[in-house]
Amino acid sequence: MMIKDSVVGDQRTRIGEGQTDDGLGPNSDIGARLRALYGAVQDEGVPDQLLDLLEKLDSAEKTQRGKDEAYDE
Protein backbone atom coordinates (compact mmCIF):
# COMPACT_ATOMS: atom_id res chain seq x y z
CA MET A 1 0.00 0.00 0.00
CA MET A 2 1.61 3.18 -1.14
CA ILE A 3 0.39 6.70 -1.20
CA LYS A 4 2.29 8.75 -3.68
CA ASP A 5 3.72 11.99 -2.41
CA SER A 6 2.14 13.96 -5.20
CA VAL A 7 -1.34 12.80 -4.23
CA VAL A 8 -0.83 13.70 -0.60
CA GLY A 9 0.63 17.01 -1.67
CA ASP A 10 -2.40 17.77 -3.83
CA GLN A 11 -4.81 17.05 -1.05
CA ARG A 12 -2.90 19.17 1.34
CA THR A 13 -2.92 22.06 -1.07
CA ARG A 14 -6.62 21.80 -1.63
CA ILE A 15 -7.42 21.67 2.05
CA GLY A 16 -4.95 24.48 2.68
CA GLU A 17 -6.84 26.68 0.26
CA GLY A 18 -9.82 25.96 2.42
CA GLN A 19 -12.50 26.44 -0.17
CA THR A 20 -13.29 22.92 -1.33
CA ASP A 21 -14.12 20.93 1.76
CA ASP A 22 -16.42 23.30 3.63
CA GLY A 23 -19.50 23.42 1.42
CA LEU A 24 -18.84 27.06 0.49
CA GLY A 25 -17.22 26.48 -2.89
CA PRO A 26 -18.35 27.56 -6.35
CA ASN A 27 -21.27 25.12 -6.41
CA SER A 28 -22.60 26.09 -3.02
CA ASP A 29 -25.72 28.23 -2.81
CA ILE A 30 -24.76 29.59 0.61
CA GLY A 31 -21.25 30.42 -0.56
CA ALA A 32 -22.53 32.19 -3.66
CA ARG A 33 -24.95 34.33 -1.66
CA LEU A 34 -22.31 35.20 0.91
CA ARG A 35 -19.98 36.37 -1.82
CA ALA A 36 -22.76 38.28 -3.60
CA LEU A 37 -23.64 40.15 -0.41
CA TYR A 38 -20.04 40.88 0.49
CA GLY A 39 -19.24 41.80 -3.09
CA ALA A 40 -22.10 44.30 -3.21
CA VAL A 41 -20.55 46.23 -0.31
CA GLN A 42 -17.06 45.96 -1.80
CA ASP A 43 -18.32 47.34 -5.10
CA GLU A 44 -19.68 50.47 -3.43
CA GLY A 45 -16.15 51.80 -3.45
CA VAL A 46 -14.27 53.54 -0.69
CA PRO A 47 -15.82 56.72 0.78
CA ASP A 48 -13.93 59.96 0.11
CA GLN A 49 -13.42 60.65 3.80
CA LEU A 50 -11.38 57.47 4.11
CA LEU A 51 -9.29 58.27 1.06
CA ASP A 52 -8.74 61.79 2.43
CA LEU A 53 -7.62 60.34 5.75
CA LEU A 54 -5.02 58.15 4.08
CA GLU A 55 -3.75 61.10 2.04
CA LYS A 56 -3.44 63.23 5.18
CA LEU A 57 -1.59 60.51 7.08
CA ASP A 58 0.73 60.03 4.15
CA SER A 59 1.51 63.70 3.59
CA ALA A 60 1.95 64.32 7.33
CA GLU A 61 4.49 61.56 7.38
CA LYS A 62 6.30 62.91 4.34
CA THR A 63 6.49 66.37 5.91
CA GLN A 64 7.85 64.85 9.09
CA ARG A 65 10.39 62.84 7.16
CA GLY A 66 11.48 65.93 5.28
CA LYS A 67 12.17 67.67 8.58
CA ASP A 68 14.10 64.67 9.88
CA GLU A 69 16.29 64.64 6.80
CA ALA A 70 16.95 68.37 7.12
CA TYR A 71 18.20 67.78 10.67
CA ASP A 72 20.41 64.97 9.50
CA GLU A 73 22.38 67.18 7.14
Binding site: G16, E17, G18, Q19, D22, G23, L24, G25, N27, S28, D29, I30, G31, A32, R33, L34, R35, A36, L37, Y38, G39, A40, V41, Q42, D43, E44, G45, V46, P47, Q49, L50, L51, L53, L54, L57, D58, E61, K62, R65
Partner: protein
Amino acid sequence: MSKGANDEQAPSFKREMLATLPSLRAFAVSLTGKHDKADDLVQDTVMKAWAKQSSFEMGTNIKAWLFTILRNEFYSQMRKRGREIQDSDGAFTERLSVHPAQYGAMDMQDFKNALSQLPDDQREAIILIGASGFSYEDSAAICECAVGTMKSRVSRARIRLQEILQVGGQADYGPDAVSTQVTTTTLSLGNR
Protein backbone atom coordinates in the same frame (compact mmCIF):
# COMPACT_ATOMS: atom_id res chain seq x y z
CA MET B 1 21.48 59.71 -2.91
CA SER B 2 20.50 56.54 -1.15
CA LYS B 3 16.90 55.75 -0.61
CA GLY B 4 16.03 55.10 3.01
CA ALA B 5 13.91 52.16 4.02
CA ASN B 6 11.02 54.52 4.70
CA ASP B 7 11.03 55.84 1.17
CA GLU B 8 10.69 52.31 -0.10
CA GLN B 9 8.06 51.22 2.37
CA ALA B 10 5.69 54.09 2.99
CA PRO B 11 4.26 54.50 -0.51
CA SER B 12 3.58 50.81 -0.99
CA PHE B 13 2.21 50.47 2.53
CA LYS B 14 -0.34 53.09 1.59
CA ARG B 15 -1.01 51.43 -1.75
CA GLU B 16 -1.51 48.02 -0.21
CA MET B 17 -3.78 49.51 2.40
CA LEU B 18 -5.85 51.18 -0.31
CA ALA B 19 -6.19 47.91 -2.15
CA THR B 20 -7.50 46.19 0.98
CA LEU B 21 -10.00 48.87 2.00
CA PRO B 22 -13.04 47.64 0.01
CA SER B 23 -12.82 44.17 1.53
CA LEU B 24 -11.98 45.54 4.97
CA ARG B 25 -15.03 47.78 4.76
CA ALA B 26 -17.29 44.89 3.73
CA PHE B 27 -16.06 42.95 6.76
CA ALA B 28 -16.74 45.99 8.95
CA VAL B 29 -20.30 46.21 7.62
CA SER B 30 -20.78 42.54 8.43
CA LEU B 31 -19.60 43.12 12.01
CA THR B 32 -21.46 46.33 12.78
CA GLY B 33 -24.52 45.86 10.61
CA LYS B 34 -24.43 49.57 9.72
CA HIS B 35 -22.61 51.45 7.02
CA ASP B 36 -21.94 54.60 9.06
CA LYS B 37 -20.58 52.63 12.00
CA ALA B 38 -18.57 50.46 9.65
CA ASP B 39 -16.94 53.53 8.12
CA ASP B 40 -16.07 54.88 11.57
CA LEU B 41 -14.58 51.52 12.44
CA VAL B 42 -12.51 51.38 9.24
CA GLN B 43 -11.32 54.93 9.91
CA ASP B 44 -10.18 53.99 13.43
CA THR B 45 -8.50 50.91 11.98
CA VAL B 46 -6.64 52.91 9.34
CA MET B 47 -5.30 55.28 12.00
CA LYS B 48 -4.28 52.43 14.31
CA ALA B 49 -2.62 50.56 11.45
CA TRP B 50 -0.80 53.67 10.27
CA ALA B 51 0.54 54.34 13.75
CA LYS B 52 1.91 50.83 14.05
CA GLN B 53 3.04 50.29 10.49
CA SER B 54 6.60 49.79 11.69
CA SER B 55 5.41 46.53 13.26
CA PHE B 56 4.16 45.33 9.90
CA GLU B 57 6.57 43.38 7.76
CA MET B 58 6.23 44.27 4.10
CA GLY B 59 5.60 41.21 2.00
CA THR B 60 3.54 39.47 4.66
CA ASN B 61 -0.24 39.34 4.55
CA ILE B 62 -1.37 42.95 5.03
CA LYS B 63 -5.00 41.98 4.53
CA ALA B 64 -4.95 39.56 7.48
CA TRP B 65 -3.04 42.11 9.54
CA LEU B 66 -5.63 44.84 8.87
CA PHE B 67 -8.57 42.50 9.50
CA THR B 68 -7.03 41.55 12.84
CA ILE B 69 -6.67 45.19 13.86
CA LEU B 70 -10.23 45.98 12.77
CA ARG B 71 -11.70 43.01 14.59
CA ASN B 72 -9.80 43.80 17.81
CA GLU B 73 -10.90 47.42 17.55
CA PHE B 74 -14.52 46.39 17.05
CA TYR B 75 -14.63 44.11 20.08
CA SER B 76 -12.75 46.54 22.30
CA GLN B 77 -15.22 49.29 21.36
CA MET B 78 -18.08 46.88 22.02
CA ARG B 79 -16.72 46.12 25.47
CA LYS B 80 -16.38 49.83 26.23
CA ARG B 81 -19.75 50.92 24.94
CA GLY B 82 -21.74 47.77 25.47
CA ARG B 83 -23.94 46.14 22.94
CA GLU B 84 -25.52 49.40 21.82
CA ILE B 85 -22.82 49.76 19.18
CA GLN B 86 -24.35 46.86 17.36
CA ASP B 87 -28.05 47.28 16.81
CA SER B 88 -28.40 43.61 17.63
CA ASP B 89 -29.83 42.90 14.25
CA GLY B 90 -26.58 41.63 12.86
CA ALA B 91 -24.87 41.67 9.56
CA PHE B 92 -25.71 43.50 6.40
CA THR B 93 -29.12 44.50 7.75
CA GLU B 94 -29.30 47.79 5.99
CA ARG B 95 -30.72 48.08 2.57
CA LEU B 96 -27.91 47.70 0.13
CA SER B 97 -27.57 50.50 -2.35
CA VAL B 98 -26.78 47.97 -5.01
CA HIS B 99 -28.40 44.58 -5.07
CA PRO B 100 -26.38 41.67 -6.28
CA ALA B 101 -27.65 41.25 -9.80
CA GLN B 102 -28.08 37.52 -9.80
CA TYR B 103 -30.45 37.49 -6.82
CA GLY B 104 -33.77 39.19 -6.33
CA ALA B 105 -34.18 41.70 -3.52
CA MET B 106 -36.40 39.40 -1.46
CA ASP B 107 -34.05 36.52 -1.84
CA MET B 108 -31.12 38.50 -0.48
CA GLN B 109 -33.25 39.92 2.32
CA ASP B 110 -34.05 36.37 3.42
CA PHE B 111 -30.38 35.57 3.34
CA LYS B 112 -29.44 38.65 5.37
CA ASN B 113 -32.06 37.77 7.96
CA ALA B 114 -30.71 34.24 8.18
CA LEU B 115 -27.15 35.52 8.57
CA SER B 116 -28.22 37.86 11.36
CA GLN B 117 -29.60 34.91 13.33
CA LEU B 118 -26.17 33.30 13.63
CA PRO B 119 -24.08 33.74 16.77
CA ASP B 120 -21.39 36.42 16.25
CA ASP B 121 -18.48 33.97 16.22
CA GLN B 122 -20.11 31.75 13.61
CA ARG B 123 -21.11 34.67 11.41
CA GLU B 124 -17.63 36.18 11.32
CA ALA B 125 -16.15 32.73 10.67
CA ILE B 126 -18.33 31.97 7.66
CA ILE B 127 -17.76 35.48 6.25
CA LEU B 128 -13.98 35.32 6.61
CA ILE B 129 -13.83 31.89 4.96
CA GLY B 130 -16.70 32.11 2.51
CA ALA B 131 -16.54 35.74 1.39
CA SER B 132 -13.29 37.45 2.43
CA GLY B 133 -11.30 34.61 0.93
CA PHE B 134 -9.06 33.80 3.90
CA SER B 135 -7.60 30.37 4.58
CA TYR B 136 -8.59 28.60 7.79
CA GLU B 137 -5.13 29.34 9.13
CA ASP B 138 -5.41 33.10 8.51
CA SER B 139 -8.99 33.22 9.77
CA ALA B 140 -8.01 31.42 12.95
CA ALA B 141 -5.16 33.89 13.47
CA ILE B 142 -7.50 36.84 12.92
CA CYS B 143 -10.05 35.48 15.43
CA GLU B 144 -7.39 34.22 17.83
CA CYS B 145 -8.72 30.70 17.92
CA ALA B 146 -7.57 27.24 16.85
CA VAL B 147 -7.92 26.16 13.23
CA GLY B 148 -10.19 23.31 14.36
CA THR B 149 -12.43 25.79 16.17
CA MET B 150 -12.67 27.88 13.02
CA LYS B 151 -13.62 24.82 10.98
CA SER B 152 -16.34 23.82 13.39
CA ARG B 153 -17.75 27.37 13.52
CA VAL B 154 -17.91 27.54 9.73
CA SER B 155 -19.51 24.12 9.53
CA ARG B 156 -22.14 24.94 12.16
CA ALA B 157 -22.84 28.29 10.50
CA ARG B 158 -23.36 26.66 7.12
CA ILE B 159 -25.64 23.95 8.48
CA ARG B 160 -27.66 26.54 10.40
CA LEU B 161 -28.04 28.76 7.32
CA GLN B 162 -29.17 25.77 5.28
CA GLU B 163 -31.75 24.95 7.94
CA ILE B 164 -33.08 28.47 8.07
CA LEU B 165 -33.18 28.90 4.31
CA GLN B 166 -34.15 25.29 3.67
CA VAL B 167 -31.75 25.00 0.81
CA GLY B 168 -29.64 22.04 -0.06
CA GLY B 169 -25.90 22.17 0.30
CA GLN B 170 -23.11 20.05 -0.98
CA ALA B 171 -22.66 18.34 2.34
CA ASP B 172 -25.03 15.84 3.85
CA TYR B 173 -26.91 16.70 6.95
CA GLY B 174 -24.98 14.82 9.57
CA PRO B 175 -25.71 14.11 13.23
CA ASP B 176 -24.27 17.55 14.03
CA ALA B 177 -27.20 19.23 12.38
CA VAL B 178 -29.56 17.40 14.71
CA SER B 179 -27.60 18.09 17.86
CA THR B 180 -27.47 21.83 17.24
CA GLN B 181 -31.21 22.26 16.91
CA VAL B 182 -31.79 22.12 20.67
CA THR B 183 -30.27 25.53 21.31
CA THR B 184 -31.97 27.28 18.45
CA THR B 185 -35.64 26.75 19.19
CA THR B 186 -36.15 30.29 20.49
CA LEU B 187 -35.44 31.82 17.11
CA SER B 188 -38.51 33.05 15.39
CA LEU B 189 -38.41 31.77 11.90
CA GLY B 190 -40.87 32.85 9.31
CA ASN B 191 -43.72 30.37 9.17
CA ARG B 192 -43.91 28.69 5.89
